[in-house]
């Protein structure tokens, strides 16, 4: 029995890198992008739900088509969702005011036919420009959270 359990555990450990490679979010790009196989409205709901599940609050959702219609822009399926965590926004805006332009965070959703594309700025891509290196781990954490949000959105039913 002990042999069997050990064999199973070993197999799990050996195979785990292969399973983790199934992630369908490109994690090394400056802009994280994923495709969600749901229509635009469903994806917007999914994103709201996933953000909530990850402890974020949606501050507001911005349409970008208002003044663009006159110029030939024909769709309303392009939204920017602003989100954050109040304590975090408060703390950073006090301790590192230089990061305020990136707060609250923004996640972009737009329709691609019957599917949707979801994009978000990869916080890690900003690290080289951030003078206070103590912030590096925070940017890395945000990146992990954003990747998780995109992954969860991708597999949501």
């Amino acid at each position: 029995m002990r042999l069997l359990v050990s064999l199973v555990v070993s197999l799990v450990l050996i195979c785990s890198p292969v399973w983790s490679a199934e992630s369908k979010v490109s994690e090394d790009e400056k802009i994280l992008v994923t495709r969600v196989q749901h229509n635009f409205d469903e994806t917007l709901d999914i994103i709201r739900h996933v953000l909530y599940q990850n402890g974020f609050t949606v501050a507001h959702i911005q349409r970008c088509d208002g003044g663009l219609k006159e110029m030939g822009y024909e769709t309303d399926k392009y939204r920017v969702v602003f989100f954050g965590r109040l304590p975090e926004v408060r703390e950073i805006s006090q301790s590192h005011a230089e990061l305020i332009p990136f707060l609250p965070f923004k996640i972009l959703i737009y329709a691609e036919g019957k599917e949707s594309v979801v994009s978000i700025l990869n916080p890690e891509s900003l690290i080289p420009m951030v003078k206070d290196k103590s912030l590096t781990s925070r940017f890395e954490t945000w990146k992990k959270e954003f990747v998780q949000i995109l992954q969860q959105a991708q597999v949501a039913e």
Binding site: R2, I14, K30, V89, E115
Partner: protein, 357 residues
């Protein structure tokens, strides 16, 4: 217990090594499977699940995959298309991973370029220019910049266009594609896309004239150096908080931007009584510039650059905080966007100068 576990792990590894070949996991099928995962991870968001197309080309379309050589795909993955949407994957995909993606794409079809009957023929640029104007200009644009009027759901192409016509003057496109592949696409066209076949209209020699002209129009890419560029700017205001907000709004309007209702930084994250009212975001937009920029890069919504935040610190001093447009522009591997942002940057500088000087 530890040694027992170690021993079993070693046995398991050995068993796996012995069993893998008999399980039929050949190198190539494993590569295709890896490639499929990598494609889903890095490419499907633009090129669609299984290469069906989206913002990016429908790569699995039989007439398209046939025209894509391994070298072309490899170069395009590595360098991307600076000035277009295709990013460079040079940092995120190594040679093995790139090859795995190519192997996966090959499961849709092999490259099969037609034989060039005029191989080695030197085209005439002048003749090529005339042929371009007669046959190609309406879709590829006067300066070969590709689609001019992106209006569809993703801005990047007209609704009537199933794919975005490539910018033939794009240096990375020109470096990626061989003359023979160009000839193939012109002669055979791409079924299922607006690109028709010209085999009954243009001889191979005519096509070489056209290629010579296309090659002569290769655009030069401007380099960008961002050494020591700050991520954001924090500027002191000589005015009070309210005066600063009012002054920015007036100045932004006089610089041809539309000002949206201001929002507090914390607005929406807490109730209206708890929100810090000494942190105001002034959001503005010039729709003409935004439209131009969105046509170049639809993912611009991830940064929305036109906003200035005014904050009052505990000591009563007032500051303006805003992102460095130059830095934001470089996030997209797109020198056309960098050019478009230069105008916005100038407006930003004018606004800040007027408010703070």
């Amino acid at each position: 217990m530890y040694f027992w576990f170690l021993r079993v792990s070693c046995i398991t590894w050995l068993l796996l090594l012995l069993l893998l070949p008999s399980m039929g996991v050949s190198a190539s099928s494993q590569e295709v499977s890896d490639g499929e995962t990598l494609f889903a991870q890095h490419c499907a968001s633009c090129h669609g699940i299984k290469g069906g197309g989206g913002i990016g080309l429908p790569l699995s379309n039989p007439s398209i995959i046939k025209s894509l050589t391994d070298e072309y795909i490899r170069y395009t993955i590595r360098v991307g298309r600076p000035g277009r949407l295709m990013p460079s994957f040079s940092l995120s995909l190594d040679d093995r991973q790139t090859n795995a993606i190519i192997q996966y794409m090959r499961s849709w079809g092999e490259a099969d370029l037609i034989r060039d009957q005029a191989e080695g023929f030197q085209g005439d640029i002048k003749k090529g220019e005339r042929l371009y104007q007669e046959n190609c200009l309406s879709c590829h644009g006067e300066n070969m910049e590709g689609s001019k009027e992106g209006t569809g759901v993703t801005f990047s192409r007209q609704r009537t266009m199933s794919v975005m016509p490539p910018a033939l003057n794009n240096p990375a496109f020109q470096d990626a594609i061989s003359d023979r592949a160009l000839l193939h696409v012109i002669q055979e066209g791409r079924e299922g896309t607006p690109m028709p076949s010209y085999k009954h209209k243009l001889s191979h020699q005519d096509t070489h004239h056209l290629i010579a002209y296309i090659r002569s129009k290769k655009r030069q890419v401007r380099g960008t150096t961002l050494k020591d560029e700050p991520l954001t700017f924090l500027v002191d205001s000589p005015l009070s908080f309210d005066e600063t907000v009012k002054r920015i709004q007036e100045t932004v309007r006089s610089n041809n931007f539309r000002v949206f209702p201001e929002r507090y930084l914390e607005q929406g994250l807490t109730d209206e009584f708890s929100v810090n009212k000494q942190q105001v975001i002034i959001r503005f937009c010039n729709f003409h510039k935004l439209y131009g920029a969105l046509k170049i890069e639809p993912r611009l919504g991830t940064i929305l650059p036109c906003k200035i935040t005014v904050i009052e610190k505990q000591d009563g001093s007032v500051q303006l905080v805003y992102a460095n447009i130059k830095v934001l522009a470089t996030l997209f591997n797109n020198d056309r966007l960098i050019e478009a942002f230069q105008e916005i940057e100038q407006s930003y500088n004018d606004i800040i100068d007027e408010v703070t000087l």
